[in-house]
Symmetry: C2
């Protein structure tokens, strides 16, 4: 089950900057684990003892809010998970759960920190990844609070098609309740709007599979809704 980092076909841009020797060091302090749908990978409130790298699969990042769970975002591999926690605070500020089969590498935090200090190209890449994540978060935040449900759902569908699944037809592995918690709407409203979209021929729903039929219209709704 062990995958040598040197031969990893899912290397992060940062890991690509490591020397052979450093990659060996990483390999020796890295554990690859598989997760099934629904499994918890990082749990909010627990101590963060590893850097987590999502090698394969999709996960959701969620926070226990004051009234309900907030799904912050859906992340696809490859991506580091919980970097802000690892370095910003010892305790995990959010949970991460698999929304399908996943493969995750747990990297020893001391090793990771060592690599950061010895290899500045590596740390620069990590810095860049962090920055990009934060910018994305800013935009998500603004959209979530300003648009109304139709617009937010359109945004979500576009994001799924363009960034998460990279295809116009994808298998939603999350419930409508999750979607509601992602776009800040109630489960019922999500259901209503999604069926409305289907009636208008904008999307097609076959149980959990959603296909985008009228991308133009979806863009419109995202912009004006």
């Amino acid at each position: 089950m062990e995958i040598k980092c040197a031969h990893c076909d899912m290397k992060s841009p940062a890991a690509g900057k490591l020397s052979l020797q450093e990659t060996e060091k990483l390999s020796g302090n890295c554990l690859t684990v598989k997760f099934k749908k629904g499994d918890s990978i990082i749990k909010q409130g627990t101590y963060s003892t590893n850097v987590v790298y999502l090698r394969r699969g999709h996960v959701k990042i969620h926070i226990e809010g004051p009234y309900r769970v907030q799904v912050v975002r859906i992340v696809r591999s490859p991506s580091y998970l919980g970097l802000p926690t690892t370095f910003g605070d010892k305790v995990n500020h959010y949970s991460v759960s698999a929304i399908g089969e996943c493969e995750v590498c747990f990297i020893d935090i001391t090793t990771f920190r060592m690599l950061l200090t010895t290899n500045s190209d590596f740390s620069y890449q990590i810095l860049i990844e962090l920055c990009k994540g934060e910018l994305e978060l800013y935009n998500k935040c603004v959209n979530r609070t300003q648009k109304q449900i139709r617009g937010k759902l359109a945004d979500m569908l576009i994001d799924f098609a363009d960034n998460i699944f990279k295809t116009e037809s994808f298998n939603l592995n999350i419930t409508q309740e999750d979607i509601g918690n992602l776009v800040d709407a109630s489960r019922e409203s999500v259901s209503r709007v999604l069926t409305e979209f289907a009636k208008d021929g904008i999307i097609e729903i076959k149980s959990k599979r959603i296909t985008i039929r009228d991308r133009q219209m979806l863009n419109n709704i995202s912009r004006n809704g």
Copy 2:
């Protein structure tokens, strides 16, 4: 007007890690500028050509949203501004404006990047600052979307007292419209709730000066509102 970084009394934790030689290098590539209330320090959509360090004063970070301006947060010195932009994308994703007298250092980006690569303690501190910022953003995001107006305003007042002004009595230099854009509420609702708080003796309002009178109550509202 030039302040030598070596003798700067407002050095960032990161800059504290620099050697004398490196600090000299920083000094030579750093320009200190004063801003007045309302002045624009960083403008969304323009190219980011400098790392910006807020040496003294308060600023607001705001984004042009689809329907209105979103005030993302209020930041007090000392703090780097726009780091995510500098490294995540060349174009500024948000604007920064002074909400009072400010002193800001513009640091040449090439110099800054050089320091990142040559001094790993420095880059580690920057990394940590980024991580903390992102975690804070997560929490802000969740609160903003889940609590209702009373709770959000209570949160804001507590944040101002504890983190921004560090006193129970502070001079709000922003309009109620700004407050609305910060907590995601209309200007009218902000006015209503603020006067309601004042009537209930929770706060005291004297033109722009707010004094927190019943901290316990404010905490309650933040928790249950």
